[in-house]
């Protein structure tokens, strides 16, 4: 490792890309001492080859993670990731950066816990500081029955080997002293469920880290290249048509959440997804106040504080399908009402930024990772709100599915045909409505 860092460019072995330099205190010192030499690009920018073993459509977090694990876990390095725009331009850079594994259903618990375990070692695995912060997530209960429900969820988590602690009102008051504990509080606080290993991650670093690590293993990351169609013959997909010509592949996977229906339709597939807009918000920066991820129990609302000091928060989807990356004002109002109801002292903060991202919403609120009716064609999408925290496990499982043409135990319940089999994964118990998940 040290030897690699100290190698001068002229002595670097042929074929070993310049980018294989590890980031370390030595490389930092070297660049600090030679400010005239800029840091090299973190990943290569190759011309697309005419064919690959695997093509991943979509250079977001999930697509890049898939390419990385194909190379790292399965030895498949002749891989291209094809991205319409630039790396980090999509939902991987537009989310509220939360990681957690507080799920109840059998197919979800193991998958999301696997993801959290991959997050725990991610910065070392990728040699890229993803700023993983295990600050803990506190999910509040506002009535005795809601606390019972939280207690059941926590118990199921613990039976699955996942950390969970039930807090009573006094413990919540000590942990989160800034909440509204007054007798007039519209939503009195009875207790909470705490997962200490939950937290936040710097989302841009996830995209960049996976891109750099995959590129170093030989994966071609092709930006500004739009997929316009698939090469389909006799029920088998053998490549993609792009704005830069036809590229053939033994296997093709799509990971383009937000536009999954749009891309799947190019291969003639109709899928159980509607696209909805989800808004997110950042306040002006303030001194450290919120040291955890806090989830409201009375509405879908959650809040954390970024390292820059801004309060980062979000709520529910706007409620009707749209591909416009902008939200409606009534949702801004209702989210602000949630914030003030929960933390009265933020009422005079100004919003600094506010944006909308497009979610694949599925009828049961759970994602899809698996095979499709077309041979050699694999689908990853339908992430609803859960895409960011799932990034490592999603890529890990999707890589396994593509490499072995079979779902892994962790994603076997995320099949695209689960509704036909009567195997809905309805974690929230809210029924078959994309817009109610």
């Amino acid at each position: 490792m040290l030897r690699l860092v100290m190698l001068r460019p002229a002595h670097r072995p042929a074929g070993l890309p310049r980018l294989s330099n590890r980031y370390s205190v030595f490389s930092l010192a070297r660049h600090a001492l030679s400010p005239d030499k800029p840091w090299p690009r973190a990943w290569r920018s190759p011309e697309p080859k005419s064919s690959y073993d695997v093509i991943i459509v979509g250079g977001g977090g999930h697509g890049l993670a898939t390419a990385y694990y194909l190379a790292a876990n399965h030895g498949i390095t002749n891989v291209a990731v094809i991205e319409r725009s630039y790396i980090g331009s999509g939902n991987v850079g537009r989310n509220t950066t939360i990681i957690r594994s507080n799920y109840m259903l059998g197919g979800n618990t193991a998958f999301f816990e696997h993801s959290l375990k991959l997050w725990e070692g991610l910065s070392h695995t990728l040699n890229f500081n993803a700023m993983v912060s295990h600050r803990g997530q506190v999910v509040l209960a506002h009535s005795p029955s809601q606390l019972d429900v939280q207690s059941r969820r926590g118990n199921i988590m613990r039976l699955n080997g996942i950390d969970a602690e039930l807090l009573d009102r006094g413990e919540v008051m000590k942990t989160l002293p800034y909440l509204d504990y007054s007798p007039e509080a519209r939503f009195p606080i009875w207790g909470a469920l705490l997962q200490r290993r939950a937290g936040t991650v710097r989302h841009d670093a996830v995209a960049w880290g996976y891109a750099r690590a995959a590129s170093n293993l030989g994966v071609d990351i092709i930006e500004n290249c739009e997929v316009t169609g698939f090469v389909v013959q006799d029920g088998r997909v053998s490549g993609v048509e792009t704005s830069r010509g036809r590229i053939l592949a033994e296997k093709t996977g799509i990971a383009v959440a937000g536009h999954s229906s749009h891309v799947a339709a190019m291969a003639g597939l109709r899928i159980p997804i509607e696209s909805h807009v989800l808004q997110a918000f950042v306040s002006e920066p303030i001194k450290p106040l919120v040291h955890h991820v806090v989830s409201f129990g009375a509405e879908l609302f959650y809040l954390s504080q970024s390292d820059k000091g801004g309060l980062v928060f979000g709520g529910h989807i706007d409620g009707f399908n749209t591909y416009t990356q902008r939200g409606q004002f009534p949702k801004v109002q209702s989210v602000a009402e949630c914030a003030v109801s929960l933390i009265p002292c933020v009422s005079r903060l100004r919003l600094l930024r506010h944006w909308g991202g497009i979610m694949d919403m599925t009828p049961d609120g759970s994602p899809f990772i698996g095979r499709t009716p077309l041979r050699n064609f694999y689908f990853n999408g339908g992430w609803c709100y859960q895409g960011f925290k799932a990034t490592p496990a999603s890529g890990w499982c999707f890589a396994h599915t593509i490499a072995h043409d079979e779902e892994h135990e962790f994603n076997r319940d995320f099949r695209l045909d689960r509704f036909e089999a009567g195997r809905e994964m309805d974690e929230h118990g809210s029924g078959n409505w994309t817009y109610k998940q």
């Binding site: 749009h262 997804i273 399908n321 009534p330």
Partner: protein, 89 residues
């Protein structure tokens, strides 16, 4: 603010309405026991990026269901009709 013209009540804020999903899918006959047809009707969506025909219910008004033309790429709203006029068509 998105505005929707209710066939009964006229133009109102969209917050008075509830979205009810794709209205372009033909519903199988109620007596049908074709599971595939029901699955496709309930669970699959064209989810187009562009013109879309969809159900809304005026829950804070006349409570009638209506069918609205809207472009999902721009949110530009077109004509609306009472849902019963196109039921089963």
């Amino acid at each position: 603010m998105l505005k929707i013209t209710c066939p009964c009540c006229g133009e109102r804020d969209y917050t008075e309405f509830r979205y009810g999903s794709d209205a372009s899918k033909p519903r199988p006959p109620l007596a049908s026991d074709d599971r595939k047809a029901w699955h496709d009707y309930v669970f699959l969506f064209d989810n187009p990026k562009g013109p879309h025909r969809e159900f809304w219910q005026h829950v804070l008004g006349c409570r009638q269901w209506l069918v609205l033309e809207r472009n999902t790429a721009t949110n530009i709203v077109g004509a609306s009709r009472p849902a019963r006029e196109i039921a089963g068509k």
